[in-house]
Every structure is written in C-alpha cells, then in structure tokens.
C-alpha cells in the first residue's frame, strides 16, 4: 500500500499530464476546476490516468454524483436539500463538503473537488 506522499505524487503527475499545469500549482488545497482549470473532458482524461497509475477502476458515479444533483428529491430550487447533503456525504465520504454546505447550490458543486479530495478518494480504493 503506497504512502499518502506516494499517492499525492502520482495524483500530481496525472494532473500535470492531463491539465498541462506545473507541479507547484498542484497543491493539496487546489480545486480542480477553479485553480487548475479542469474542464469536463479533462475529467475523463484524469480518471483514465489515475486508473492506469494506480491499477484501479473508477466508476463515474463515484466521483460525479450527477444522479443526486439532478434528483428532485434532493434538490429544491437549485439548492441541495439536507437529505441531499446526507446522500452526498454517504456517496463521497472522502470529500470535504464543509464549504459546499454553507451555500449548497448545485452550480457550486462543480468547483468542490480538490486535489486532496482526489488523493483521499484514490486511497479509499487501494
């Protein structure tokens, strides 16, 4: 089992390769979309590179809970409900949702994922 540092280094390498960013930009706190400029097609590339680097399978719904964010039981007027937050926490135990909870607009979810979240997710799969 690789150490957290080794996981970070591999995730960092995958992100540098997929997004064309420098190593000093890929900090644990950096957000994938806002800080690193990832677009939707980049996530396909990132998932592919992580699967290859770690020998794991990453089902799309584990990283991108679109089914929750488009479910009217969990979203009212563009805002994720308390039930929706609970469902997200259950689905994404590795993600830090504290910032999102303060203003749980669906449109804010896209910029939630950080490099650290990604590392924690990968570790949960190893």
């Amino acid at each position: 089992m690789p150490s957290s540092e080794e996981v970070f280094e591999k995730v960092q390498a995958a992100l540098m390769d997929a997004l064309g960013v420098d190593d000093d930009e890929v900090t644990p706190e950096a957000t994938m979309v806002g800080d690193l400029g990832a677009e939707s097609i980049d996530f396909l590339d990132i998932v592919f590179k992580l699967e290859k680097a770690f020998g794991i399978n990453i089902p799309r719904e584990e990283l991108f809970p679109d089914d929750i964010l488009t479910n009217s039981s969990y979203v009212k007027d563009g805002t994720v409900t308390a039930d929706g937050i609970s469902e997200l926490k259950a689905r994404l135990p590795w993600a830090d949702l504290s910032k999102f909870e303060k203003n749980p607009r669906v449109q804010n979810f896209g910029n939630l994922l950080t490099v650290n979240d990604l590392c924690r997710y990968v570790e949960s799969k190893l």
Binding site: D17, A18, S40, I41, D42, L44, D45, V47, F48, E51, R60
Partner: protein
Amino acid sequence: MRWFWIDRFEEFVVGKQATALKNVTYSEEPIDDYLPGRPHYPHSLIIEGMAQTGGILIAQMQDFHPKVVLAKIGKAEFNSIVVPGDQLRMTAKLMSLQSDGAIIEGHVTVNHQPLAEMELAFGILDDSFGDTSFFLPGGFFRILRSLRLFEVARHEDGSPIQIPDYMLEAVRQEAAQ
C-alpha cells in the same frame, strides 16, 4: 474538399482497435499550402485521420448512432515529416470508454516505420447538443462502405459485423424515390 483523412480500414476489431491506411499524394491541396517550398503532409491532418479512425471505432459500438467528437489532444508526438508517396498506417486502440466520452491511444507508422504516438479524448454528445445526426444514414453507409469498413470489421470472436438495419433501410428508401 472532402474531409476524409483516411483511405480505408485495414483492420477493425469491435471495441478494441482499428487500423486505417492513408496514402499521401502530391495532388492534395494541403501538401503545397501548408509550408510553401517544402511540400509535406501536415501533422494536424494525421491527428485528424487518427480521430476519424478512433471516432468510428467508438461510434460503431452503438451501431454508429452516437455523435462522437474529438475533444482533446492529450499527446501527439511526431518524429518525422510525411511527404508525397508515403503510406501511413494509423492504429487507434480504445483505452477507456464512459457514457460521455472515450480515450484512444494512437500509433502511426510511415512506410512501416514508427512516426507518431498520440492520446486523444473524445466527447460522446448527448441530446442536449441537439438531436440531429451528423450524417444522413444512407450517406454515412456509403462513406463507411467506401472505407471498406464492412469488409474488414470483426468482433473479437472473428465474426463479421452486421450493417445496421437503419442504414440499409435508408438506402432502400433512397432507391425507391
């Protein structure tokens, strides 16, 4: 100008890989226009040829219904130029397939010598991008037939692929008109 940058398929294994052949001739406009005084075939068109090879590989998995577009060139490394008279072989290997996209690794040879390595990401567009097909079924069938796709395409077990019924029906309807 016809926007086809492959001449024909040589190999096609459903959901796995496809190899397309491209013969480069002096009669092609981009040869002269790209770098006047040094006629050669633009690398960008080799990438497009690989995208067409990979895109058809991906679309065939759902009877050519999906709208597949080149979305990202992750890598494209060339070690030489291509000149009139050269023959390219472009092999696209499907590496990852999701509902909204796919990744292929591409390997190109020129006259059987390694020329380029690529990694291309494709978007698979859903109906939010419009429900109009990129091609009319009859016309698309004729393109694929001209590329000899149906002659060489096989499933992994070696059995040939079937021409989709909706394409044959479109051709029948065109003939009846």
